[in-house]
């Protein structure tokens, strides 16, 4: 299979604080990769480097063969095909649900207004929120907002989706509805990189689980390998802490 994402020697520092200390990773087309690890291990920073919301300090990140880490690269064009979902949803607060989803395709002239509206309506049906088309974000629950945020990202027809702790800001009873949408997406073959604390989701949906700690990839493998037979002590410690809590 073709390599969708290829990361070589990725480092990222914030001032003196070295957050990523040399990450190498390849992601196949259609693969679902879950990043797990303790807070501050660099998972989110790594994810944000993939669409250059953070500029890497060193190393190369290629998406579809184009070096996104290269400052000369047309980053806006590349981001059009890389969807991102945030922990805090970040829906445009001055736009309706429909407005949020239609905004980027219309603004970037990928679709006409009519096409965008049709697509937005379909996407809303897909995430189960057809009745909320004209609501404003503050009128929705967290789970609903996050589902709209996924629809908004999908409206650009991305071929890779980045999820930055999509359920961490949700009330427990709303986690399921968001994870279901993500599972659906994974089943349809979307390439996904998911930073998550939902071990159940990682176990069920991921093709590969990556355990990060202190800015490095400590261990990776199938969910089976990572959850039932972790090799590294740091992975074992982390999993026992997390799983005991569950």
């Amino acid at each position: 299979m073709t390599k969708k994402v290829k990361v070589t020697g990725l480092c990222k520092s914030f001032g003196d604080n070295e957050v990523l200390k040399g990450i190498d990773l390849e992601i196949d087309e259609g693969e679902v990769v879950c990043l797990i690890g303790p807070s501050g291990s660099g998972k989110s920073t790594f994810l944000r480097c993939l669409n250059r919301l953070e500029q890497s300090t060193a190393g190369v990140i290629e998406v579809d063969g184009f070096a996104i880490s290269d400052k000369k690269q047309n980053i806006n064009k590349m981001r059009e095909s890389i969807g991102m979902v945030f922990q805090q949803f970040n829906l445009f607060s001055n736009k309706t649900v429909l407005g949020n989803i239609m905004f980027a395709p219309v603004e970037l002239k990928k679709l006409t207004k009519a096409q965008a509206k049709e697509k937005a309506t379909q996407l809303l049906a897909r995430v189960g929120l057809s009745d909320k088309a004209n609501a404003y974000p503050h009128e929705l629950s967290g789970g609903q907002q996050q589902r709209v945020a996924i629809a908004r990202a999908l409206a650009m027809s991305p071929d890779i989706m980045l999820f930055d702790e999509p359920t961490s800001a949700l009330d427990p009873e709303m986690v399921g509805e968001v994870l279901n949408v993500m599972k659906e997406l994974a089943r349809e073959g979307m390439t996904m990189v998911v930073v998550t604390h939902e071990m159940g989701f990682a176990r069920d949906v991921a093709d590969r689980v990556i355990f990060m700690s202190d800015g490095v990839i400590v261990e990776q493998g199938t969910p089976e390998e990572i959850f039932t037979a972790p090799e590294q002590q740091r992975t074992k410690d982390f999993l026992s802490r997390i799983l005991n809590k569950e």
């Binding site: 806006n76 970040n90 607060s93 001055n94 970037l108 503050h138």
Partner: protein, 212 residues
Amino acid sequence: MLMVGLKNTILISLLAILIGLFVGLITCFLGRSRFVVPRAIAAAYVWCIRGTPMIVQAFLVFFAFPQVIQMFVSGFKIDPFTAGLITLSLNAGAYMSEIFRGGIAAVSIGQIEAARSLGLSQMRTMLKIVLPQAFKICIPSLVNQFIITVKDSSILSVIGLADIVNQAKVYVGSTYQFFPTYITVAAYYLVMISVLMVISKLIEKKLNYEKK
């Protein structure tokens, strides 16, 4: 006689508010520039205006600077209305640039990241996502500044602008009708500012998509 003054007060205030909004927005953008020179210009402008009383600024524009210009352009003159408009606009612009700066800073970074992650350029994100939200945040402070501008226009009577205060002063000078004249002047200001307040409430109501 008062009506002429009222007309001048309204005219100069409205023009100064419009020019001030424009100047304020430009200054705000200069202040956010990547380069040092525009940032320094914006900072110096705001510093000078905020650091001096408007009455001194009016004297500078009407008396002091023309004297310097006359050394190069003989017979250069500036009329009180133009000088007053320049003073009032520059004054309003400096304060408004600070209001815009605060408004833009108050738009959450998440809104910007969401737009950028969809592939929008920095410019489009600013125009389509940040500014509309910042504008809404700014409205109460902007209206406050509009009100101050309307009232500050009365200071321009010191350079001979025929505004409502100046006209009233001339009128009472010959008639000694202090009470009715100044009560009328005060009432006119109240009406003008009430109109501003009503308009701003209407805009706020229309934009109040988020009841927070």
